[in-house]
Symmetry: C2
Subunit: 197 residues, 2 copies
């Protein structure tokens, strides 16, 4: 119906998460009809990001710098290291605002079925940092899924073997949540992990 | 929180319709983490589209060709011309599938307040086609808004003056719609435009 190049654009826009055929068509029409400047800027920014954004040499988060701004900051507590699965997790924790240590991003979790082993998650790089006495506490914040838990256990064992103290963030009923609407697995975990008042 | 280039990408993605800060962040993370090839393709396709897509010389729809595939098709009825406001309207009518004539895309409607006059809508180009006897019927399918109706009246007068017969698509209760949920304006119009059974 549209010309080939517009069809290509609609197809390319569908690579975006949450964008189906109708949204992609609406986006393509909007960009070409109403806002070519923004479309050009998006194209060049995206091209640059694809070419230049890599991983921080220390924490593996996404950045175009060699060492990200968090790792190179002198205001952060370099003796605390929090292990997360994705760069978006870093953002979520930073937005909560009460953690001031560093991060280590796995970019996934251990998953032998998909061929994801310790080296793919940078655990060799992480292991080297356990040895040289810089980390006082390792806080593991992988997702509370089967794979996330397995990854947490794996990392915890290695860290403990090197004498690093390891903790796991708490899981239970979310603050402000109502028990009535919480799933059974979370409730069971909350009971098992109850603390003395 | 993110590095400058990633922040730029998130900001650039917000130019897309329906994409707010959270969606833009999710899209940026997805593209950089999971699908760099698709991101690169999107960047280059978008760049090309911005550079090459212009308007068809005959119907003004968006295309990278001089004359679009509909206007140059020998299978279409070149004596019927349907006037619509946007290229997306062309697609909607094509998907309905029972119109086989040509189109003319206004890219908007008459709006003196916004400084949109007849020349901006290509009505001079359209007027030339009335003169040379090629159009048997002009079907006006602008939106049933105040501006769309004014535009329809304006075009209809000019076409009639050149001896072209003019029609307007029907407006009323949508097929499959329930009277209970139809707004008063549409119902009033449906009563005024009733046809003899």
């Amino acid at each position: 119906m549209f010309s080939p190049l517009i069809e290509d654009l609609i197809r390319a826009l569908r690579c975006l998460p949450g964008v189906g055929p109708k949204s992609a068509q609406r986006m393509a029409m909007y960009l070409l009809e109403k806002d070519r400047d923004a479309a050009g800027l998006l194209a060049s920014t995206l091209q640059q990001a694809v070419e230049k954004v890599g991983r921080c040499n220390r924490c593996r988060t996404l950045t175009e710098q060699d060492v990200c701004s968090l790792c190179s900051s002198t205001r952060r507590d370099h003796s605390l290291l929090c292990v997360v699965e994705t760069p978006a997790d870093v953002l979520a924790i930073e937005q909560a605002g009460n953690y001031h240590g560093l991060y280590f991003v796995l970019h996934g979790h251990l998953s032998p079925i998909d061929g994801v082993g310790p080296a793919d998650l940078g655990l060799d790089v992480l292991g080297e940092r356990f040895g040289n006495d810089e980390i006082a506490e390792l806080i593991i914040a992988t997702n509370p899924t089967v794979e996330g838990e397995a990854t947490a256990q794996f990392i915890a064992e290695r860290a403990r073997a090197k004498g690093v103290s390891v903790s796991r963030i708490a899981h239970g009923v979310p603050i402000g949540g109502e028990l009535e609407y919480i799933d059974g697995g979370t409730l069971a975990h909350a009971f098992n992990s109850r603390t003395v008042l």
